[in-house]
Every structure is written in structure tokens, then in C-alpha cells.
Amino acid sequence: MIYLDHNATTPLDERVLEAMLPWLQGAGNSSSVHALGRAARAALERAREQVAALAGAHPSQVIFTSGGTEANNAALKGVTARLPAARLAVSAVEHASVQQPVAALARAGWTAATIPVTDQGEVTAQAVEAALRDGARLVSVMWANNETGVVNDIAAIAAVVRPAGAVLHTDAVQTLGKLPLDFTAAGAHLMSMSAHKLNGPKGVGALVVDKAVDLEPLLHGGGQEKGRRGGTENLAGIVGFGIAAELAATELQMRRTRMTALRQRLEQGLAVQVPQAVVFGGGASRLPNTVFLALPGMEGETLLLELDRQGIALSSGAACGSGYHEPSHVLRAMGVTADLARCAVRVSLGAGNTEHDVDTLIAALRMQAARLQAMAATAW
């Protein structure tokens, strides 16, 4: 099976597993759990430092959560809980874990405006400025889109949000570990991250928060994370996140180069062998590993099942939404027709993928394209 769905989730790096095991097993000796009390605290803080380093943040700004969804919820609900109901603005291409909290806030008296994207899926600083002029107090724009891979210039966006006295949240779940991230330099107020997108374990993430931001906790009780997030810490998961972050920091350049090369191989291969393939957001700055494409006329769901039969695992976009047959809201926001959007499939490369994997995919897509052409030719 060739796994090309790394944006959905990634396999755990062996080195991460190794680091997690002692914390997972407790050595089967119950007394070691307690004796490790101080060691546990040290491991927790070490992981915090590692994650902060990759994010370009200060450790004191990092709050561990149960994942990216919780981080997004904590950011949006946390900020709005401490402000009188007003206006907020989110981009048209956000992940459900930003869109849905916003919808919930809209039911609680906040007005939600949508920041449009270009036809390449980018959120421009100008578009954000327009939202600010309309009175937005809180802005949420993702650093990179999970479907198209399109990357936004968060620094440029922060540069217009801050002077307006508004708060900027960015969902960096898909960016961490793929591109250099510098929370401090970029100037966002809040940033969400998730471990399982960078070969870390599921069930753990983090929210980076600028000290100046007043945040109501999402989870009350127990006082953990300096009162910002209640609940016994998932130490094994957090340690895993820390190691995954450290590895990503060390290997970032190498991973980026390797992914970019594979992505280019795919796109160039398609351009030659499957010229009818459409790449969404191809003109924009994108994550090195993501290609959101379509074979016009072939339903994405059908293509996916065919490819799965041939041992290639892709997805039609967000994993969460993969039970539904709605066309991608990201593509619709880019002006793509519903018909074409329904043909979209997402390739997201990652650790373990090779040139052979890419070539196999190209061959499979070429075959599917040929079948499509043949069917079209005989149809009448």
C-alpha cells in the first residue's frame, strides 16, 4: 500500500515511539510512576521547549492540548469569551475546526464575516484589511490550507491586524514541520498546532498564545498548564510531540527539499502524461508536499476507490469531511465549479514516500484518464 495521505495523518516516527515508550509503559513497576514525579515534570517542560523552538515561540506561550481541534476551539472561544460580542472574520477556506466554532459563536451573538480568497486560494492582506474596516475584532486565517496546500503570508496579515487593535489567530496545523514557522516574527497572537501531522502521536497538540491575549480556558478544573487548560497531562503524548518537533526542526530543510522534489516530479509527470489533470492553487505558494488535483469528468470518490484498489491511498480533501459528498468548500471559495470540485483528490506526500511512489501514482492516474477518455469516446 502506498500511503499518500499525510495531511490526514502521519505514521509515528520510530524515534518518537522510542521516546514515548517509557512513559507509556511505566516500566510495569508501579512505584516508578511516583518516583518519576519530578522526572515527569522535567520531561513535560523539555517537550514544551522543543515545541516552542519549532514554532518560534517562548515555552511560556505554549499550552498543550488534546490536538489541533481543541487548540482552535480554545483560541476562538477563549478570546471571544473575554470580549463583548462583536464581529469576527475568518477566511473562506478554514478547516472545520475553525469554521464550526465560529458558527457556534455566531449563534452566541457574534457576527461572523468571511474573508474571500483569490482564485488561487490565497488570503491577501488587502482582503483582511477590508474585514478589519468592517469592524472585525478577531481574525482567523490559516497558515496553510490542508486541501490545496496554499500558504498565506501571515506576517503580512499580522501587519494589518495588529495596528487595527484586533487579534489574529492562525491555524498552523498543516504548516508545522513542513515549513519554517516563526510565531514571534510573524506577529500572530494565537497559533494552533497538532502533533500527528508531523510524525508525532494523535491526541496531542498545542496552542501558542501571546502574553497580551486574555484567554478564557476551554477546560476548567485541576489547574494544569498554569490554569490555562485543566486535565491530567498526556505525558507520553506530550513527550512524543516534543521529540517529533525536535526531529522536524533538525530535518526541516532536508524534508522540505525532498518533498518539493517529489511534488515537482509529480506535477511535471502529470503535465506530460496526464495533461488534462488540473492542479488547484497551482499558481500560489504551497506546502512542499501537497497537490490537490482533479481529472475533469471523473468523480473524486470513484477515483479514490479505484486507486485504493490499486494500492494507493489518497483522500478527497479533509479527512473529517470524507464521509460527506459535498464538494470542497475550499474549492468553491476559489471559484471552482461544483462539478469540477467533486472530482478533486488530494495527494499529500510525507516520510517514507519515494520517487517510485510518485511514478506509480502518475501511471495509475494516466490509466484512469485513459479509461475516462475511452468511456467518453464510446458514450452517445
Binding site: G203, G221, Q224, N234, C320
Partner: protein, 405 residues
């Protein structure tokens, strides 16, 4: 240097080796089971989803409910938050009064305090000296605008077991929702949600030899309980709790709950014997008080106050025993346990209390060693204690006028 004897199972339990093994099989690269359970388009996702559903069944089986009624969360703290805030927000138009007890875990109490800032009124019932909630007092507290009662099944500090069956009858008869924090009871006390009129129940994995960072919330379907989700997103868990499901964590919790169901009866017997051994071993010490009802109590817990001994000194003296004074979450503060205060213990006794909690890997040797240590250290500390001298001389300390320096 030998490791301390672990008698703090109520704070957290080590992961059972069988649980750890099962979890690892979902983490390794070559297992092919690392997929996102929500990925519908390939076998990596299907395998993960299947494992999640098996685990859901295992949890449901322990408490005799429908698997569809189990919602995965990141732990009991989140479950408590979801239950209480979820009900409060959904039923706000019906009423804004909540009843709970003073001895609940902070996850419940802090959540209630938070809601009070948003116009909700909360009645905090005081338990009796035995730690039990008086049902007549509960009934008297119910108002026409009461929408939720939240009472924990087993208290984490003193181990007493509340009569949730009776409370459920009362709340159901009045159309009020009933939430139970079962973090300390699942796997220790039989729970039958088919019979109990409980609407919401919080579970924790790491109190039951499972991993930290995973829990569940039981949400009744018949009659249907509605909740305002607290984590919005991809619509996971029937829209009640969004977020990628951590397969390995869930598998771990399922396995832990399966083992609990199969071994509970036998394990409880063994633990009861060990607890009795511990109690017998310290009962001959003067001025020793057990906190909480001895009958309606889980066998795993023994919370004892040693009069005329200062609590922190006691903890330090018993360095070779891993125990707690006060609940783990609040042990950073030097406040006397609010639970012991609530059952009427004066501050001095509250301060000098220790919670011993026994578990799956505790041995007779551990108990005997603990008893020996306790005897040694208590004698020593009392030798040094002027209050103890005064007591021995027959002075009634409550009549003493203490002067400040």
C-alpha cells in the same frame, strides 16, 4: 536507593502491560494501522476505525450501555466540562440552576464556578460527616429551574460511594438530568447504566490502568439527552466532540476497561484483604481517624488522619511511601483538603491526613512495609510534637489560648 512503595493509585495508575502492548501495535510504522479513523477512502483509515469501534464496545460493555452512547474525550476533566457546560448551554432556556456537592473533583467544581459567571446558579450540597450526600437535602434543593444534578459516584479522596441509584430515581421523576463523575468508580464498582437512571457519566482511562489523555462521556439515548458540543469541528462522535480520534489511546482505554470487567470481582477481593491488612496494622496507633464511611466505600481507598502530627512533615517523613495528602490536582497548594473540610474535619486533622490507595500491583509486602514505616515515623514525629505532649498530659487543646508572636 530503592523506589518508594506506590500507594497512590487514586492519583494515577501505571499502564497495565497488556494495555501498553495493545497500544503499541497501533503506533508502529509497519502495523499499517496508523491511519486517521475518519479517513474513509483507504484501508489505513478503515483499520483504525474498526479498532476504535471495538474499543467503544469494550467500554460500553463494562457499564452495560449501547456503544453509541459512548463519546471519546481527552479525559475525565473534559468529560465533566462537556457534560456540565453541554447541558447548561443546551437547556439554558429551561432553567439555569445546577445542584452538585462540595466534595466533587475540581473539574466539576471549577466548571460550575465558571458557569456562575454566566448567570447560572449552583447549589453545593454539603455531605454528612460520613461523606454521604443526604437525599432529603438534595430533594429540598431542587427548584423548578433545576436542569442538572452532578454527583460523583466514588470520591477520589475518601473513597465513599454515593447512592447514585436513588439519586437517579429522584432526578428522573422530576425530569432533571443527572451527571455522574465515575472516574474513580469504573472498574471498581459495578455500574449498570441499563438500570441506573443516570443520563451522563464521565470516565477516565488513567485511573483504570489505561493511558493518560483519554476518557469518555456516556450520553444516554433513551431517553435522549442533548448537549451543546464544547469542541466543534469535523463533526466526530455524532457532532458531540470533534477532533481526530487518537486510535492508540482509545484502544488502550478499551483494553483497560475489558481487563477491568473480567478481573474486577477477583481484584476487589484481593484489594479488600490488603486494605484490611493496612487498617489493622495502623489501628493500634493512638488518635488515628479514618475519614469517610467505612461501609459504603471502595476497598481501594483508606484516608486516615493522624492527630497531633503535621501533614507536610508526615509526607516528608514517609518519603518511601508514595501517597497523597489532598487530591493530586490541588496538592501544589497548602490549603487543607476541601473534601475533608466538607465532611467536618477540623483543619488540623485535615492537614494531617493521608490518602492510601491500593491497586492491581500492590503486594502484602508493600502493605507490611508501609505499616512498619507509618509506626516508625508517627512515633518519631509525635515525640517532637509539643501538641502531642500537651494531649498526653490531658490538656484539652481547644481550651488553649494561643498567642501570636
Amino acid at each position: 536507593m530503592s523506589k518508594p512503595i506506590y500507594l497512590d493509585y487514586a492519583a494515577t495508575t501505571p499502564v497495565d502491560p497488556r494495555v501498553a502492548e495493545k497500544m503499541c501495535s497501533f503506533l508502529t510504522l509497519d502495523s499499517g494501522r496508523f491511519g486517521n479513523p475518519a479517513s474513509r477512502s483507504h484501508s489505513f483509515g478503515w483499520e483504525a476505525e474498526q479498532a476504535v469501534e471495538e474499543a467503544r464496545k469494550q467500554v460500553a460493555t463494562l457499564v452495560n450501555c449501547d456503544p453509541k452512547e459512548i463519546v471519546w474525550t481527552s479525559g475525565a476533566t473534559e468529560s465533566d466540562n462537556l457534560a456540565i457546560k453541554g447541558v447548561a448551554e443546551f437547556y439554558a432556556k429551561k432553567g439555569k440552576h445546577i445542584i452538585t456537592s462540595k466534595t466533587e473533583h475540581k473539574a466539576v467544581l471549577d466548571t460550575c464556578r465558571h458557569l456562575e459567571r454566566f448567570g447560572y446558579e449552583v447549589t453545593y450540597l454539603e455531605p454528612g460527616l460520613d461523606g454521604m450526600i443526604d437525599l432529603a437535602k438534595l430533594e429540598a434543593a431542587i427548584r423548578p429551574d433545576t436542569i442538572l444534578v452532578s454527583i460523583m459516584h466514588v470520591n477520589n479522596e475518601i473513597g465513599v460511594i454515593q447512592d447514585i441509584a436513588a439519586i437517579g430515581e429522584m432526578t428522573r421523576a422530576r425530569g432533571i438530568l443527572f451527571h455522574v463523575d465515575a472516574a474513580q468508580s469504573a472498574g471498581k464498582v459495578t455500574i449498570d447504566l441499563d438500570k441506573l437512571k443516570v443520563d451522563l457519566m464521565s470516565f477516565s482511562a488513567h485511573k483504570c490502568y489505561g493511558p493518560k489523555g483519554i476518557g469518555a462521556l456516556y450520553v444516554r439515548r433513551k431517553p435522549r439527552v442533548r448537549l451543546e458540543a464544547q469542541m466543534h469541528g469535523g463533526g466526530h462522535e455524532r457532532g458531540m466532540r470533534s477532533g481526530t480520534l487518537p486510535t492508540h489511546q482509545i484502544v488502550g482505554m478499551g483494553e483497560a476497561f475489558r481487563i477491568a470487567r473480567e478481573e474486577m470481582a477477583q481484584e476487589n477481593e484481593r484489594i479488600r484483604m490488603l486494605r484490611d491488612r493496612l487498617l489493622k496494622g495502623v489501628q493500634d496507633i493512638e488518635e488515628v481517624y479514618v475519614n469517610g464511611d467505612m461501609e459504603r466505600r471502595v476497598p481501594h481507598n483508606l484516608n486516615i488522619s493522624f492527630n497531633y502530627v503535621e501533614g507536610e512533615s508526615l509526607m516528608m517523613a514517609l518519603r518511601d511511601l508514595a501517597v497523597s495528602s489532598g487530591s493530586a490536582c490541588t496538592s501544589a497548594s497548602l490549603e487543607p483538603s476541601y473534601v475533608l473540610r466538607a465532611i467536618g474535619r477540623p483543619d488540623e486533622l485535615a492537614h494531617s491526613s493521608l490518602r492510601f490507595s491500593i491497586g492491581r500491583f500492590t503486594t502484602e509486602q508493600d502493605i507490611d512495609h508501609a505499616v512498619e514505616l507509618i509506626h516508625q515515623k508517627i512515633s518519631k514525629l509525635r515525640e517532637l510534637s509539643p501538641l502531642w505532649d500537651m494531649y498526653k498530659e490531658g490538656i484539652d487543646l481547644s481550651t488553649v489560648q494561643w498567642s501570636a508572636h
